[in-house]
Structure formats: C-alpha cells, structure tokens
Amino acid sequence: MEPRTRSFYVLSAFFALFILFLYGPTITIGILSFQGEGGGLTFPMRGVSLYWFYDLFEQQAVGDIWGSFRRSFALGLMVMVVTVVVSVMGGLAFRRKFPGSNILFYLIITSLVIPSILISLGVGLLFSQSGLNVHWSTSGFGSQLTWTLPFGLLIMFAVFNRFDTSYEEAARDLGATPWQTLHHVVLPIIAPSLIGVALFGFTLSYDEFARTLLTAGSYNTLPLEIYGMTTNVTSPVLYALGTLTTVFSLIVIGTFLCIAMVMNRRRALKGSDSGKGV
C-alpha cells in the first residue's frame, strides 16, 4: 500500500465537515425538541423535558397528526409495492427495443424533471374537470407514482445494464420456461436491488410534498400537515414532530438496509451450489 498523501487528510477533514453540514441541523432540532417548557425555538435550553412531545400527543389544535401519519404510511406502502412491481416489469421490457420504447423512455425522463407543481396542478385540474374528488389514495397516489417510478426504473436500467445474460441463456438451455427463468434465475439475482427500489418508493412517497399539495384532497398526508404547521406553529412542538418523523424514517431506512445486508450475507455464505446436485 502506498502511504497516505497530504491531500487524503485534507479531504478527510472536508468530508467530515460535509457530514456535519448534512446532519448538524437535524441533530440540533433533535436536541432542541427536548427543550424545557418555557424554552423557545433556539438555544439556550431552558431545562430538559419531554413537554413538547406530550404536547404533540395531546394538543388537538395542531391538527390531525396521527391520522395524517397513518395515511402517509398506508400511501407509502401502496406506492412502494406498485413502484417495485411496475419498475421490474418495465426494466425487463426495456432490455429489448419495442414499438414506442423511445417515446416511453423520454416520458420517464419528463416525469423525473417536470416541476412537481405541474403534476399537482394538472392532476388537480384533471380530477376537478372530470367531476372526480381528489383523494390521497387516488389522485395523490398517482401523482406520487410519477415521482417514484422514474427512480425505480433508473435503478432497474442500471441493474440490467450490469446483468449477465448468460445465466438466463443457461436456464433456457436447460429447458426452463420464460416464467421459470424469471422466477428462479432473474428475480433472485436482482432481489437486493429491489430492496433499493422499495426503499426509494416508500421514502419518496412518505416525504413527498409538492406533488400531493393539490391532489391529496381534504385528508392531509404528514408532510402537508407539517407544512401547515410551519405557518402557524412557532413552538418547539414543531421540532418534536420533526424529530419523531426523522426517527421513523431512520428506522425504515435501517430496516431496509438490514434486509439488504442479510440477503447479501446469506448469498455469500451459500456461495455456489454447482456440482452439489441442488
């Protein structure tokens, strides 16, 4: 191994500062959410208490936080499942050219780069003009898919760009039907990436604000509820809510990463089963 150069240490310090920049503010509101009863939005801390968390559970004036959390959670799961299924199907299909594949590809890119407010406005108009009611589980759901699907598909494109097709050819040579090939060969190989797609699907939906603004209807999702709070709540209760949702997000992320790690480890332990007559 070469010795470390001076630039390594400079860059390491830079990286540490960057991480501090990324996490510092969130950690600060984490600390400030334990602010004492008389405390305000900034330091100094006036004692340490769980006052603002209790406030969050009790105070009805801040709105329907638990209802909005349940809705966001359900919506996140819906978006996650659909994103995974549709992205895998799309990724498989896009391995070959098909009529309209170019147009569809550019639509995916458009869906990714279009300013979110256009989706919000357009879907809102579409529903109101066709006499349908906007609701988080219909219009909100569809609007969020226009954000999560491009991410899912880009991941699948990246996965299939690196996919060794000789596994599939081998399966076919051994007489596997297309469905068997997919089920026993392709899906197990791409499974860890699907965890990634699921993580994107859930978290992007759970945190999405702009595309649900005009499409969620009268029942708010959590980000909409939080956004509403920023305009009229000026106490650390805002931080308490922020801390709780961030902790929840971290638990979700941690769960997904653990699943991915366990899958990788099991695969590494099993190794190759060639010649073992499995």
Partner: protein, 287 residues
C-alpha cells in the same frame, strides 16, 4: 423469426402497459389539460373554457415575470456551482481515497441517508442555526466577529441557496460517484507512469471521464431548483419569489388559467434546458 420478434414486442408492450397507463393518466393528460386551461378565462370564482391569449399576454407583459424568471435562473446557477464543487470533491474522496469497498459503501450510505428523510424537516432544522438569536449569530458575537446579530442569515437569498445546497448536493454526489467508480484505475496509473502529477491527473483524466456523471447531477439539481416553490417560500420568509412561487400563488387565488400559462412557460424553459444538457450525455448508457 419474424413471428418470434412479434411475440417479444407483444410481451414487452404488455409488461410496460401499467407504466404507460400511469404516465398517460398522471403525466400526459395533466400536461395536456394545463395547456388547454392556460387559454381559458378566469373569473373570481370559476374558470371558463375559452381560447384567448390573455393569460400569456399578461404574463409576458408584466415586469414581475422577468424578475422572477431571472431569480429562478440565478438560484439554479448558484446552487449548481456549489453542488458541483461539493459533490465532485466528496465523490472524488470516496472513489479514489477510500480504499476498501466496505468503507466506500458505508460512507456513501452516510451521505445518502438524509436524502431519504423529509425535506421540510431539513429546512425547518436551519431555524435554530440561522435565526436572529441562532447558533451562528451567537457564536459570531461571542467570538467578537460581529457586534449585532446579522439579519440576513435566515429569510434571505443566502438561506434559500444554503437550503438548496443542503438538500440537493446528494443528487450530484451519487451520479458522479457512480461514474468515478467505473473509471479504470489503470488509466490513472498510466498517467502517473507517464509523469503526470496529481493536479494533471485530476484535470486531464478524471474530470473528462466524470463528465457524464456531472451532467446527470446537473440535470437533477437544475430541474429541482427551477421547479421548486417551497424552499424559496420557506427559507426567504416569503421575501423572494421564483417561478414556482408565482404558480403556487396563482393556485392559492384559484387563478388556474394564469397558473397554467406560467406553468407551461416554466415547463418549456426546463425542457429546453434539459434538452441542451442531454446533448452532452446519453443517460441510458451511463447508468
């Protein structure tokens, strides 16, 4: 053989049909409707189908429009500059200075985790830092750098750009890191053997090979900033405006036709910008 190819086409079309359906209903139709509504007329409480150019005439006739579009580009350009600088440095450190794959993945994840948490919370979390009595001001006062709190830290263009950089640097780090990891290390060895120093390797080998990643990151950052309306509203304390805010204000006033006209102009601006950027990179090859 021809029949086989037809079979493939049919099965491919079946497989993408859910995707196509979602994009048709929730992307294409809404855009078409926005185009249509942008020619409609609005009264105080309803919108009336019509075909008039009033909305566009008003939009292009108002000096506010030009200021707001200028602001939008200003935010995009400044944010791009800082995110590319930060993103490239971080990705370079991870790809070339961290030597084991496990550490690379671990540190990379450390950078990406905030991306999966709420943007609004991450904006709110700047309040205790930048506020009038916030950490930044009280630290500077205690160091004797300033005598009075700086007023422009929170609720200013500075805060808007800081928040943008905070939120979107990830979108630079990820694609740049991705392309850097695919650079053949022997190219760098070859450059070193040929007598290039660190700076020359960076400038003549790494940066040219990383361009596609920079381009993809640029597309993400530029479109996110140009389409934004919450960050600008929240971080400027409603003192600055970009096009997104112009649209959301019209929506709040139920002026859907004029919101639609502005939205169409914004969409065209974004698409033209992306079109120009896409000339430099083939996204599908670079994933």
């Amino acid at each position: 053989m021809k029949k086989l190819r037809n079979n493939f086409a049919v099965s491919s079309l079946l497989m993408v049909s859910p995707l196509a359906a979602v994009l048709l209903i929730f992307l294409v139709l809404p855009i078409v409707l926005i185009v249509v509504v942008s020619f409609w007329r609005a009264t105080e409480f309803s919108i009336i189908p019509a075909f008039e150019l009033d909305n566009y005439e008003f939009l292009f006739g108002s000096p506010v429009t030009y200021t707001v579009f200028f602001n939008t580009f200003k935010y995009a350009l400044i944010t791009w500059f800082f995110t590319v600088l930060l993103g490239f440095t971080i990705a370079y450190y991870l790809a070339f200075h961290i030597r084991t794959l496990t550490w690379q993945i671990a540190l990379f994840l450390l950078c990406t985790i905030p991306f999966w948490t709420s943007n609004i919370i991450r904006m709110i979390s700047w309040i205790p830092f930048l506020g009038r009595n916030g950490i930044a001001n009280s630290t500077l006062i205690s160091w004797g750098v300033i005598d009075e709190p700086i007023e422009w830290l929170l609720f200013s263009d500075f805060a808007v750009i800081l928040a943008f950089v905070h939120l979107y640097t990830l979108f630079m780090v990820v694609p740049i890191f991705n392309t850097m990891m695919r650079i053949d290390k022997s190219l760098i060895e070859a450059a070193r053997d040929a007598g290039a120093n660190g700076a020359q390797i960076l400038w003549n080998v790494i940066i040219p090979l990383t361009k596609p990643g920079i381009m993809i990151g640029t597309i993400f950052v530029v479109t996110l900033v140009m389409g934004d309306f919450i960050t600008v509203r929240f971080m400027s304390g409603s003192q600055s405006a970009n096009v997104g805010r112009l649209i959301s204000n019209d929506i709040a006033l139920l002026q859907y036709p004029s919101a639609s006209a502005t939205a169409i102009v914004l969409l065209l601006t974004v698409l033209i910008t992306i079109g120009i950027l896409l000339r430099f990179v083939d996204i599908r090859k670079e994933l």
